[in-house]
Point group: C2
Chain length 214, copies 2
C-alpha cells in the first residue's frame, strides 16, 4: 500500500470547516469555493462520516444551512457543530446569565437563555454591532463582577469576505481581556472540547478523522 | 532633616498628569478633583517648575486647556506635553502618512500631516469613533503594508468619566496588534521618551522631578 493510502486506511470520518473551506461569506449569501459542492457530495456518498464544524457566530445554524443549501450544498442543521449551541450548554450548566455582545443573526440560538442581571459576557463575531457603546457595556458588566467570566465564540483574527478581509471576534476578545486584566474562555475551534463534541456526534475517534479547516 | 525632606531637597520640578489627577472628564466639561485647583496654584507659586503631562488624546491641547481654565486651573497650552504633537513629530521625521483612527476633537493637531495614501495607522482614544467600520479600515490599511506601522497614543486600559468607566485606546491597540500579528509603538506615557521630552521642556533632570500620574 502507498504511504498515503496506508494512512487513510484507518480513516472513518471527515470534519469540514465551512467559512473559507466550503464558501466565502459576503453580500448576497457569499460564493461557494470552486469544487467544494461536488467534494461534499462525493464525501457523503462514500463510506466516510461527515461532520461540519464551524466557528461561524454571526448566524444561527438554521440561517447558515439555508444559505449553504441555496449554494448547492447537501447539508442539514443537525450535521453542524457550531459554538453558539456549545456556549448555551455551558451557560446552563454553570447558571450563567450573559450580556450578549453578538450579531443579531445569531441571537435566536440564545432564545432559551436568561439574560437578566448579567453575571458574564458572551462575545461572538458581532460585525457592525462591535460599536464603542456595546463594547463599553460588556466592559462595564465585567468590571462589576467579582469573578469576571468572558466566553468567546472562537478567537479568529479575521476572515475573508467577498469584499475583503474583516475583523473577527478574536481582536475584540483580546481588547476586553486587556481592559479587564482577564483571560477569556474560548468555545469553538481550536478548543479540544469543541472538536471532541463534533467527533462524538459522528461516533468517530480523533485518530480516525481527517480535518479540513481554515 | 527628616527623610522625606531630605528626599525632596533635590527636587526641582513636578510633572502633573491631568485626567484622574486634576479632573475627571465627562459631560459638560468634567469636574475638578477636590483641592487640585489650589494645589496647582501653590506649586506654580513655589520655586518648583511645573509641567503638565497627559495622555489625553480625545482633545487638542487648545480644547483641553480651555476646559481646565474654565474649571479654575492656572494652565496654558505651552505648559502641556501631550501625545498628538509628539506623534506628529515622529510622522514627519519618518515620512509616515497615517490613517487616523482618532476622535474628531484631536484632529486639528494633525492639520499639517499628509494623510493621503496611508502607510501607517495612528490610533488614539477615539471614543464613539471606535466603530467596527473604522477599526476594519485601520486593519485593512495595516494588512496591505509590507511593514505595518501602528502608532498608539498611550495604551491606557480605561479611564473614569463622571458617568462611569470608559474603554481607553489600549484595548483597541491590542485588538489591532492581535489581528495583524504586530506590536504597536506607544507614544505617550509610559514611554520613557515621552517623559524625557516633558523634562526637557522645563530643563529638569529625571532625578530632580516628582511625578503625579494616574
Amino acid at each position: 500500500m502507498a504511504p498515503w493510502a496506508e494512512r487513510l486506511a484507518g480513516v472513518r470520518g471527515v470534519l469540514l470547516d465551512i467559512s473559507g473551506v466550503l464558501y466565502d461569506s459576503g453580500a448576497g449569501g457569499g460564493t461557494a469555493i470552486a469544487g467544494s459542492v461536488e467534494a461534499v457530495a462525493r464525501l457523503k456518498g462514500s463510506r466516510l462520516k461527515v461532520r461540519f464544524c464551524t466557528n461561524e457566530s454571526q448566524k444561527s445554524r438554521a440561517e447558515l444551512v439555508g444559505q449553504l443549501r441555496r449554494l448547492g450544498f447537501d447539508i442539514s442543521e443537525r450535521e453542524v457543530t457550531a459554538p453558539a449551541p456549545a456556549a448555551c450548554q455551558i451557560l446552563k450548566e454553570r447558571g450563567l446569565r450573559p450580556y450578549l455582545l453578538i450579531h443579531d443573526g445569531v441571537r435566536s440560538e440564545f432564545d432559551q437563555i436568561d439574560t437578566s442581571n448579567p453575571n458574564c459576557v458572551v462575545i461572538a463575531d458581532a460585525g457592525e454591532s462591535f460599536s464603542y457603546q456595546n463594547m463599553n457595556n460588556a466592559f462595564q458588566v465585567l468590571m462589576e463582577l467579582e469573578n469576571p467570566v468572558l466566553i468567546s465564540l472562537g478567537k479568529g483574527r479575521y476572515y475573508k469576505e467577498t469584499s475583503g478581509l474583516m475583523l473577527d471576534v478574536g481582536p475584540y476578545m483580546k481588547a476586553l481581556e486587556y481592559a479587564c486584566g482577564i483571560k477569556a474562555e474560548v468555545v469553538g475551534k481550536p478548543s479540544p472540547e469543541f472538536f471532541k463534541s463534533a467527533l462524538q456526534a459522528i461516533g468517530v475517534e480523533a485518530h480516525q478523522v481527517v480535518l479540513s479547516v481554515y
